[in-house]
Subunit: 203 residues, 4 copies
DNA sequence: AATGAATGAGATTTCATTCAT
DNA sequence: GATGAATGAAATCTCATTCAT
């Protein structure tokens, strides 16, 4: 009688432990021992599920990024007016941020990894691209529906993406001074103010 | 005959080498040996000028941050209309980015350091604050001069700051796809479009 | 099937090797490598059982001192007349000295450590105190039994303790010239000669 | 005009500094830098006067030991009865101890060095021998003068020497608990009590 | 005579990784 | 599948010692 494959389960257990260890001590400072003890496993056990430390980091990267991409995709398919969906998106990301505050330093270290590993960098760029494309789509719908004036949708999408990144970065550095939700809403309002549908003068 | 003091010179030489080594290999992966060989010195010589590796990183951090703050301060005192000065600022930062492309991964790692060291984090936050304050000042002048409509200057300043950070981050990840100068100009134009003085025509 | 715990065994193995290495080369000159090779282990293996080199030295110190204290305690409980027990004590220590000749330089270095580390110094002083107390006890019994005349037992005990230390020190420096056993017996006889019970003839 | 030779002066200056540094930090822990800075000289200057660190330690050893031997010699030639001269000797050594308390840890480390270097060991043994011979002489005079009963002068001299060493050792370890002067006097009295001239029962 | 500057050699310690069970 | 035990490799740092001036 074959036992159920606990492989997947164990991998998740390890990744969870790795997130904790990395977030707490840093990507380099956290040792395999740190991860093993948090996972309640022995050190060699880690090597049964991951080839080495880099493999753990890689898996974690994919885990983070894929989740982000899933989030983006969902929004793309959500119902509602473009404006409402932008608001919903902010809301959703704000919620994620709240939950992820502790892991944020880790995310930042992932950016550091990305600068050195082309493959990682490309994953990240792919996310930007996806997000950008979705925004373009959303904005175009808004223009078509007369919610926004004519615009260079790609350009505006890029700006919004950069705002997401920038506000997040600042929030990570000074969580007590930056209210992610409020700042993002305000920033978006500022952008959209310049994109009122005609009757007014357009750019 | 007292020999000239080469101390400062050597320190710079080492910091220069450290920038190279760190940018190339990463903050943790670059060893003291890597730095020493790039500086054309022996390893122990490094310890004549810096107490330890952290001291080198610390000096480098201060070096980067202080330069950034100097840049910001200069802009505050520059002549010209607010709009023109915003443009000049973009231009200046764009030029800096061009020169710093190789060191950007290092800068990103510094952000990682910042998330773990309160003192570093505070230096960084101080820069944000300075930049923000300067922008508030600039925007207020623009409002007073009738160049912009009434606004929450602090809010707009924050948004512009976040844009700087966000665009830079994206540019670091995909330098070939992101044209810092153009994107920043466009993003700023977008913001300012919503801040036209009332009842006037567009720019 | 749980493997037997070899932990204690390994620790002893390392301490044994450390004694050899330290005795041979000196406390500072003997490196972790020296200890490891004598123990037939790799250097990192040492760190599985001792936090660092100081921990090894500390364990060794305790090992030496505790053994000495055990020796002292046993004597306290031994049977026989006070005089006979003093002789027995000399005999026992003489035997120990014979076996420990090689480790004596190490012991001397421990004294050096003791001068710089209060905790070590206190352990050593505690041994002196124990030894002294035991001798006081013994002498008091002798006085009570009429074997010795009245005396300042504490003072005499101190003198005997100092003799033990002094003779040992001289023997370490010149083992070929100093016969520990004979010198100690003679010295003790000299002291006891002045402590004849009143009005009695000599021994 | 030849300047006066400052060589000797400089050497003493360095040795003085070395005593301080060694006493404070320990023979191994004190670095050439420590010595140089205490001597108010540069590090290379030390090498103008001493071939290396060991040479400094060697000089210091000789310095200490020779002074001790000079002290011993003086006593030999002093006037007075044997008993009185023994008392005077104690007094003198007690005074030395008072002044040397800080350097005592250093002396102990010298013993450690002695265990590893035959030449040093021999110097030390020579001192023991000198001291012993002087005591033999003194005791013989006392016997001749009827101050002491007949005895094995060599044996008694050895015991007294060991007492000096032992009491000093214990005093170094517990200076607050051991009063060198008092203990040495008492111990000597104890010995001499057994060496009363005849009329009483001899040993 | 004197020293600022430099370095070769080596010490301790850590860690990712593997073996034997 | 799991792990206690072990290690090769490398990193940081220190120090006695020496040049070049």
């Amino acid at each position: 009688m074959p036992r159920p494959d606990r492989s997947e389960e164990r991998r998740d257990q390890i990744l969870e432990a790795a997130i904790q260890a990395f977030a707490e001590k840093g990507l380099h400072e956290a040792s395999m021992d740190d991860i093993a003890s948090r996972a309640g496993l022995s050190k060699p056990a880690l090597y049964l599920y991951f080839r080495n430390k880099d493999a753990i980091i890689g898996s974690l990267l994919r885990f983070f990024f894929e989740r982000e991409m899933r989030g983006v995709r969902k929004l793309l398919e959500a119902p509602g007016s473009p404006r409402a969906r932008l608001d919903a998106m902010n809301e959703q990301f704000a919620a994620v941020m709240d939950h992820m505050q502790l892991a944020m330093p880790l995310l930042l270290e992932f950016y550091g990894v990305a600068t050195r590993q082309a493959s990682v960098r490309q994953s990240l760029v792919a996310i930007y691209q996806d997000f950008h494309d979705m925004l373009v789509n959303l904005l175009a719908q808004g223009v078509a529906a007369g919610e926004f004036c004519a615009m260079d949708t790609s350009q505006v999408a890029f700006t919004l993406t950069a705002l997401y990144e920038g506000i997040t970065l600042m929030w990570v550095m000074a969580p007590h001074m930056v209210d992610w939700r409020r700042q993002m809403q305000a920033a978006q309002a500022l952008i959209l103010a310049g994109l009122q549908p005609a009757l007014d003068a357009a750019n």
